[in-house]
Protein backbone atom coordinates (compact mmCIF):
# COMPACT_ATOMS: atom_id res chain seq x y z
CA UNK A 1 0.00 0.00 0.00
CA UNK A 2 2.83 2.31 0.93
CA UNK A 3 4.53 1.26 -2.31
CA UNK A 4 1.39 1.71 -4.38
CA UNK A 5 0.63 5.15 -2.97
CA UNK A 6 4.23 6.26 -2.67
CA UNK A 7 3.77 7.49 0.90
CA UNK A 8 3.34 6.18 4.45
CA UNK A 9 2.13 8.29 7.37
CA UNK A 10 0.97 11.85 6.82
CA UNK A 11 -1.43 14.45 8.16
CA UNK A 12 -4.82 14.55 6.52
CA UNK A 13 -6.81 17.79 6.83
CA UNK A 14 -10.61 17.45 6.69
CA UNK A 15 -13.43 19.85 7.66
CA UNK A 16 -15.01 19.89 11.12
CA UNK A 17 -17.64 17.16 11.44
CA UNK A 18 -16.06 14.99 8.74
CA UNK A 19 -16.71 11.22 8.72
CA UNK A 20 -14.50 8.30 7.71
CA UNK A 21 -16.12 8.41 4.25
CA UNK A 22 -14.99 12.02 3.97
CA UNK A 23 -11.46 10.92 4.93
CA UNK A 24 -11.52 8.27 2.22
CA UNK A 25 -12.65 10.87 -0.33
CA UNK A 26 -9.90 13.23 0.81
CA UNK A 27 -7.36 10.44 0.38
CA UNK A 28 -8.80 9.67 -3.02
CA UNK A 29 -8.53 13.30 -4.09
CA UNK A 30 -4.86 13.14 -3.09
CA UNK A 31 -4.13 9.88 -4.91
CA UNK A 32 -6.53 8.08 -7.25
CA UNK A 33 -4.50 4.87 -7.01
CA UNK A 34 -6.35 4.28 -3.76
CA UNK A 35 -9.30 2.99 -5.83
CA UNK A 36 -7.37 -0.24 -6.38
CA UNK A 37 -7.51 -0.89 -2.63
CA UNK A 38 -11.14 -0.07 -2.00
CA UNK A 39 -12.54 -3.61 -2.03
CA UNK A 40 -9.92 -5.27 0.19
CA UNK A 41 -9.03 -2.55 2.67
CA UNK A 42 -10.48 -1.95 6.15
CA UNK A 43 -10.33 1.42 7.87
CA UNK A 44 -9.31 1.74 11.52
CA UNK A 45 -9.71 4.77 13.75
CA UNK A 46 -7.45 5.01 16.81
CA UNK A 47 -6.46 1.36 16.68
CA UNK A 48 -9.92 -0.16 16.18
CA UNK A 49 -11.39 -1.31 12.91
CA UNK A 50 -14.30 1.04 12.23
CA UNK A 51 -17.68 -0.63 12.13
CA UNK A 52 -19.45 2.32 10.53
CA UNK A 53 -17.99 4.47 7.78
CA UNK A 54 -20.11 7.45 8.89
CA UNK A 55 -18.22 7.62 12.22
CA UNK A 56 -17.08 11.18 12.79
CA UNK A 57 -13.38 11.90 13.15
CA UNK A 58 -11.77 14.42 15.51
CA UNK A 59 -8.49 16.31 15.43
CA UNK A 60 -5.60 14.04 16.36
CA UNK A 61 -7.36 10.78 15.43
CA UNK A 62 -5.18 8.11 13.86
CA UNK A 63 -6.82 6.84 10.68
CA UNK A 64 -5.23 3.64 9.27
CA UNK A 65 -5.91 1.82 6.02
CA UNK A 66 -5.50 -1.90 6.63
CA UNK A 67 -4.79 -4.14 3.66
CA UNK A 68 -5.60 -7.89 3.97
CA UNK A 69 -3.56 -9.35 6.80
CA UNK A 70 -0.77 -11.88 6.44
CA UNK A 71 0.44 -12.79 9.90
CA UNK A 72 1.79 -16.16 10.90
Amino acid sequence: MRELLGEGEFELVVPDGATLVDCWEALRARNRKIDALASATRIARNGRVAALLDERVAEGDEIALLPPVGGG
Partner: protein, 138 residues
Protein backbone atom coordinates in the same frame (compact mmCIF):
# COMPACT_ATOMS: atom_id res chain seq x y z
CA UNK B 1 7.40 -12.72 29.55
CA UNK B 2 4.06 -11.22 28.69
CA UNK B 3 1.41 -13.57 27.27
CA UNK B 4 0.96 -11.31 24.23
CA UNK B 5 3.87 -9.72 22.47
CA UNK B 6 5.21 -8.31 19.23
CA UNK B 7 8.99 -8.80 19.24
CA UNK B 8 11.88 -7.86 16.97
CA UNK B 9 14.28 -10.63 18.02
CA UNK B 10 14.24 -14.43 18.01
CA UNK B 11 11.24 -16.03 19.71
CA UNK B 12 12.06 -18.50 22.49
CA UNK B 13 9.15 -20.97 22.68
CA UNK B 14 10.31 -22.25 26.08
CA UNK B 15 9.93 -18.82 27.68
CA UNK B 16 6.42 -18.51 26.30
CA UNK B 17 5.53 -21.98 27.53
CA UNK B 18 6.78 -21.11 31.03
CA UNK B 19 4.60 -17.99 31.05
CA UNK B 20 1.48 -19.91 30.00
CA UNK B 21 1.81 -23.07 32.09
CA UNK B 22 0.37 -23.39 35.60
CA UNK B 23 0.40 -26.32 38.03
CA UNK B 24 -3.12 -27.44 37.09
CA UNK B 25 -2.05 -28.02 33.49
CA UNK B 26 -1.06 -31.48 32.26
CA UNK B 27 -1.23 -30.58 28.57
CA UNK B 28 0.69 -27.91 26.69
CA UNK B 29 0.32 -27.42 22.95
CA UNK B 30 2.37 -25.13 20.83
CA UNK B 31 2.20 -23.94 17.24
CA UNK B 32 5.28 -22.45 15.64
CA UNK B 33 5.01 -20.71 12.29
CA UNK B 34 8.41 -21.04 10.66
CA UNK B 35 9.71 -19.32 7.53
CA UNK B 36 9.87 -21.95 4.82
CA UNK B 37 11.92 -22.03 1.67
CA UNK B 38 9.04 -21.74 -0.81
CA UNK B 39 6.06 -19.46 -1.39
CA UNK B 40 2.58 -20.95 -1.85
CA UNK B 41 3.13 -20.79 -5.61
CA UNK B 42 6.41 -22.71 -5.32
CA UNK B 43 8.81 -19.80 -5.86
CA UNK B 44 11.95 -19.98 -3.68
CA UNK B 45 11.80 -17.53 -0.77
CA UNK B 46 14.91 -16.07 0.83
CA UNK B 47 13.05 -14.62 3.80
CA UNK B 48 10.01 -12.69 4.98
CA UNK B 49 9.55 -9.17 6.27
CA UNK B 50 6.70 -8.60 8.72
CA UNK B 51 5.13 -5.32 9.73
CA UNK B 52 2.46 -4.84 12.36
CA UNK B 53 0.16 -2.20 13.71
CA UNK B 54 1.47 -3.12 17.14
CA UNK B 55 -1.23 -1.65 19.35
CA UNK B 56 -3.98 -3.20 17.25
CA UNK B 57 -2.25 -6.58 17.03
CA UNK B 58 -1.79 -6.78 20.80
CA UNK B 59 -5.45 -5.92 21.33
CA UNK B 60 -6.42 -8.61 18.82
CA UNK B 61 -4.21 -11.20 20.57
CA UNK B 62 -5.88 -10.43 23.89
CA UNK B 63 -9.34 -10.62 22.31
CA UNK B 64 -8.56 -14.01 20.81
CA UNK B 65 -7.31 -15.24 24.20
CA UNK B 66 -10.45 -13.91 25.85
CA UNK B 67 -12.62 -15.82 23.35
CA UNK B 68 -10.65 -18.96 24.15
CA UNK B 69 -11.23 -18.43 27.86
CA UNK B 70 -14.96 -18.43 27.12
CA UNK B 71 -14.96 -21.42 24.76
CA UNK B 72 -12.49 -23.54 26.74
CA UNK B 73 -12.70 -22.71 30.45
CA UNK B 74 -9.42 -23.27 32.28
CA UNK B 75 -7.30 -22.93 29.14
CA UNK B 76 -4.64 -20.19 28.97
CA UNK B 77 -2.96 -19.06 25.77
CA UNK B 78 0.00 -16.92 24.86
CA UNK B 79 0.72 -15.40 21.45
CA UNK B 80 4.01 -13.90 20.30
CA UNK B 81 4.66 -12.60 16.80
CA UNK B 82 8.01 -11.44 15.50
CA UNK B 83 8.29 -8.55 13.04
CA UNK B 84 11.11 -7.24 10.88
CA UNK B 85 13.32 -9.34 8.60
CA UNK B 86 13.27 -13.12 9.07
CA UNK B 87 15.31 -15.77 7.33
CA UNK B 88 14.26 -19.30 6.35
CA UNK B 89 14.03 -21.45 9.48
CA UNK B 90 13.27 -18.62 11.89
CA UNK B 91 10.10 -18.60 13.99
CA UNK B 92 7.63 -15.90 12.93
CA UNK B 93 4.87 -16.72 15.38
CA UNK B 94 4.45 -18.90 18.48
CA UNK B 95 1.12 -19.80 20.03
CA UNK B 96 1.03 -21.78 23.25
CA UNK B 97 -2.00 -23.22 25.08
CA UNK B 98 -1.97 -24.88 28.48
CA UNK B 99 -4.88 -26.88 29.85
CA UNK B 100 -5.61 -29.55 32.45
CA UNK B 101 -6.40 -31.97 29.57
CA UNK B 102 -5.21 -32.34 26.02
CA UNK B 103 -8.28 -32.06 23.73
CA UNK B 104 -8.94 -28.47 24.85
CA UNK B 105 -5.23 -27.64 24.58
CA UNK B 106 -5.22 -28.73 20.93
CA UNK B 107 -8.51 -27.02 20.08
CA UNK B 108 -7.49 -23.76 21.75
CA UNK B 109 -4.07 -23.67 20.06
CA UNK B 110 -5.63 -24.26 16.66
CA UNK B 111 -8.31 -21.64 17.22
CA UNK B 112 -5.69 -19.11 18.29
CA UNK B 113 -3.43 -19.51 15.26
CA UNK B 114 -6.38 -19.61 12.85
CA UNK B 115 -7.66 -16.33 14.28
CA UNK B 116 -4.22 -14.71 14.36
CA UNK B 117 -3.81 -15.50 10.68
CA UNK B 118 -7.33 -14.33 9.83
CA UNK B 119 -7.46 -11.04 11.69
CA UNK B 120 -4.31 -9.85 13.43
CA UNK B 121 -3.00 -6.56 12.02
CA UNK B 122 0.22 -8.01 10.70
CA UNK B 123 1.47 -7.91 7.12
CA UNK B 124 3.94 -10.15 5.36
CA UNK B 125 6.30 -9.34 2.50
CA UNK B 126 7.83 -12.36 0.78
CA UNK B 127 11.38 -11.87 -0.46
CA UNK B 128 12.48 -13.76 -3.54
CA UNK B 129 15.87 -14.87 -4.82
CA UNK B 130 15.83 -12.19 -7.56
CA UNK B 131 15.73 -9.42 -4.95
CA UNK B 132 12.06 -8.54 -5.44
CA UNK B 133 9.34 -8.76 -2.79
CA UNK B 134 5.59 -9.02 -2.61
CA UNK B 135 2.98 -8.38 0.11
CA UNK B 136 0.93 -11.53 0.60
CA UNK B 137 -2.18 -12.18 2.64
CA UNK B 138 -3.44 -15.38 4.18
Amino acid sequence: MSLFAIVRDAIDPRTLEAAVWSEACGAVTMFLGVVRERASDGRPVTGLVYEAHEAMALTEFAEIAHEIGQKYPGVRVGIVHRIGELRVGEIAVAVCAASPHRPAAFDACRYAIDEVKARASIWKNERYADGTGEWVSN
